[in-house]
Symmetry: C2
Amino acid sequence: MANTAVRFLYSGIRVRDLDRSIRFYRGIGFRIQARGRMQHGGEWVHLRYPRSWHRLELNFYPRGNRFYEAPKRGTEFDHFGFYARDVHAWLRRARKAGGKLVEEFVDGTSRLVYVEDPDGICLEAFGPARPRRSRRSGGSG
Amino acid sequence: MANTAVRFLYSGIRVRDLDRSIRFYRGIGFRIQARGRMQHGGEWVHLRYPRSWHRLELNFYPRGNRFYEAPKRGTEFDHFGFYARDVHAWLRRARKAGGKLVEEFVDGTSRLVYVEDPDGICLEAFGPARPRRSRRSGGSG
C-alpha cells in the first residue's frame, strides 16, 4: 500500500458539553468545518485552524450510548501544541474563551504556557520569551 | 492578535517506551522530523505523516520526573483519524507494526477499523467498504 493512499486527517477528543467546547475552540481561532451524527447516536464536530489542514475532532457520546464512559482523567493524551508569536496575547484569548492557565515558564529564549480546555485537555503555546512588537500593534504585552 | 501569528502545530501523546512507540508509528508510515530532551529531563519526538504538516508528538517522562504520572486510562482522548483507500491494507500494516485490532464495522458505504497503539491510544482508519483494486495490486483484500 503506497502512503499516498492514506492520510493522517484528525485528532479526536471526547467532550462532555459540545456547545461549551465549540465556544472555547472557536474562541481561540478554530472554525467549524463539518459536523454530524454517528450511526449509534454520538455527535462529532470537525474544526480547522487557519493554515492547518489537520482537523480537531470533538466527539460527544450521550449517556447510554455504547461508547459512553464516565469522564475519567488519564495519562494517554499530553497536549495540543501551538506556536504563538505573542504568547501573552494567545493566553489572554484562551482565558477569555474559558481556558484555565495551569503553568507558565521561560525555557531559554522561549516562553511556554499551558492552558486547560473546559474538559481539562491541555493546550501548550510556545513562542519567543520577549516578542518584538511592531509599532502598529503597541501595548504592554 | 491576528490568527496568522499562531499555528496549530502538533498533537502530543504520552508513551511508556519511546523506542517501542517510534517502531509502531514508523511502521504505519510516520517519519521522525525532530527530537530532543526537555529542560527537566523528559524526551520528545516529532513525527510527520506524508502529506500532513501536523506533527504527532511522543512525550516520554521518566520516573521521578516532575511530569511523570503512573499510566492511567482516561477518557479525554478519543482517537487519531486516518483516511485509507484500502482499509484492510492499512489494518495489516498496523497489526504488523504492533497494533491491536479492537473494533471493525461497516457503516453505509464506509469501512471503519480501530486499532490500539502499544500504549492503548486508539487509531481509526476509514475508507470505502469495498475498495476498487487495480489489476496490478491484485489480492483478495
